[in-house]
């Protein structure tokens, strides 16, 4: 069962905690501590969108519901 996810970060909610990046098995997400979001938090970005397998880990650990994720399951 192959599947692919489309992941994005809602910057108006993200606090740059890095949990999503920490638990992403494919290094799709990363937090850049040297750059700040407009809310003043470290900037969390999707750096490798193609690699996303839609496992949902980022969504499930994000405490601020800042991850938007759509998964295509190819049964």
């Amino acid at each position: 069962m192959a599947q692919h996810g489309e992941v994005a970060v809602r910057t108006d909610r993200c606090k740059g905690c890095g949990l999503c990046a920490s638990f992403c098995p494919k290094q799709v997400l990363a937090v850049d501590l040297t750059r700040l979001s407009e809310r003043g938090f470290p900037l969390c970005q999707v750096i490798n969108p193609e690699a996303c397998i839609g496992c949902g880990f980022c969504y499930s650990v994000c405490p601020d519901l800042a991850i938007s994720l759509m998964v295509q399951k190819n049964a």
Partner: protein, 285 residues
């Protein structure tokens, strides 16, 4: 080809949380909300917010909410349940709230088998007030009021709430889970759901202890904090199910359930085995 989209649960209003970056309060809120959605309980639920970082939970949940004095959420919940046995009630309490000042209230709500659901956030510290020792603070843990680490000879031993409550006859469901890894989230949610299910089925008192983080007062990154839960807290507080009368025949249970309910709800979800999955913290920090 099917498309699944992860949606904000309806039981969680679309406002930003005030929690610190990486604090697990937010995850737990979302999981509770998802369960409320799935069990279709929101409209009939009155939640009780307690005093702690989560005091403003009243702003987040879409159900009616009352904010209780520090430690008294189980008493407030009892009052609601007795006044409105046709409504659901859950409390959301920290470890200072539930296991220190509110010790009597939680024990007696449990022994009464009060038909409420309690979410107990054990982050081993007082978050709101800036990091003092909690009853659940680990031995040796440094806090504002244990500057050289908690020394049981002076500051007492950590309290294991689930083990304590499990000796009582009232509870119908008691379990401990850990919000310490992405791979735990499914289990955490299933346990939360089961605890709410207990109330739907009028089985009586249910409590889920959630091993949680407080990156701010632990002075750790969010990921370090989860790792600390996994490596330190789980030692003292093993996850597992301590009481489960959900599957028992209702009449055969020892404990009574106080405050019956008039509405009927959907049926029980699958029982969930709670084995501690090996969690990996593989990624860059």
């Amino acid at each position: 080809m099917a498309t699944v989209s992860y949606e904000r649960p309806e039981a969680l209003l679309d406002v930003p949380f005030h929690y610190c970056p990486g604090c697990t309060h937010g995850i737990t809120h979302r999981l509770i909300a998802e369960c409320l959605d799935e069990l279709q309980m929101t409209g009939q639920t009155i939640a009780v917010a307690s005093v702690g970082c989560s005091v403003m939970a009243y702003d987040y949940f879409a159900c009616d909410v009352v904010q209780a004095p520090h430690g008294r959420a189980p008493a407030v919940a009892t009052g609601i349940r007795r006044a409105r046995p046709d409504r659901f009630v859950f409390t959301y309490q920290g470890d200072g709230d539930l296991a220190a000042i509110g010790t009597a209230e939680i024990i007696h709500a449990a022994t009464r088998g009060e038909n409420i659901t309690v979410f107990f956030i054990n982050n081993a510290i007082y978050g709101m007030t800036g990091g003092q020792m909690a009853p659940t603070t680990l031995e040796g843990q440094v806090t504002q009021t244990t500057p050289w680490g908690r020394n049981p000879a002076e500051a007492g031993n950590p309290i294991k709430v689930c083990e304590l409550l499990a000796t009582l006859d009232g509870p119908a469901f008691i379990a401990r889970v850990a919000v310490d890894h992405a791979n735990q989230i499914h289990q955490v949610k299933a346990t939360i759901k089961k605890a709410l299910q207990c109330q739907l089925e009028e089985r009586g008192f249910a409590l889920v202890e959630l091993l949680s983080t407080c990156p701010t007062n632990w002075k750790m990154s969010a990921t370090e904090a989860m790792r600390w839960v996994h490596e330190q807290m789980r030692q003292q507080y093993p996850v597992g199910v301590f009481v489960d009368r959900l599957r028992e025949d209702q009449n055969s249970g020892r404990g009574g359930s106080a405050g019956g309910r008039h509405l009927s709800g959907p049926s029980a979800p699958e029982a969930v085995g709670l084995t501690a999955l090996p969690a990996g913290y593989t990624h860059k920090e």
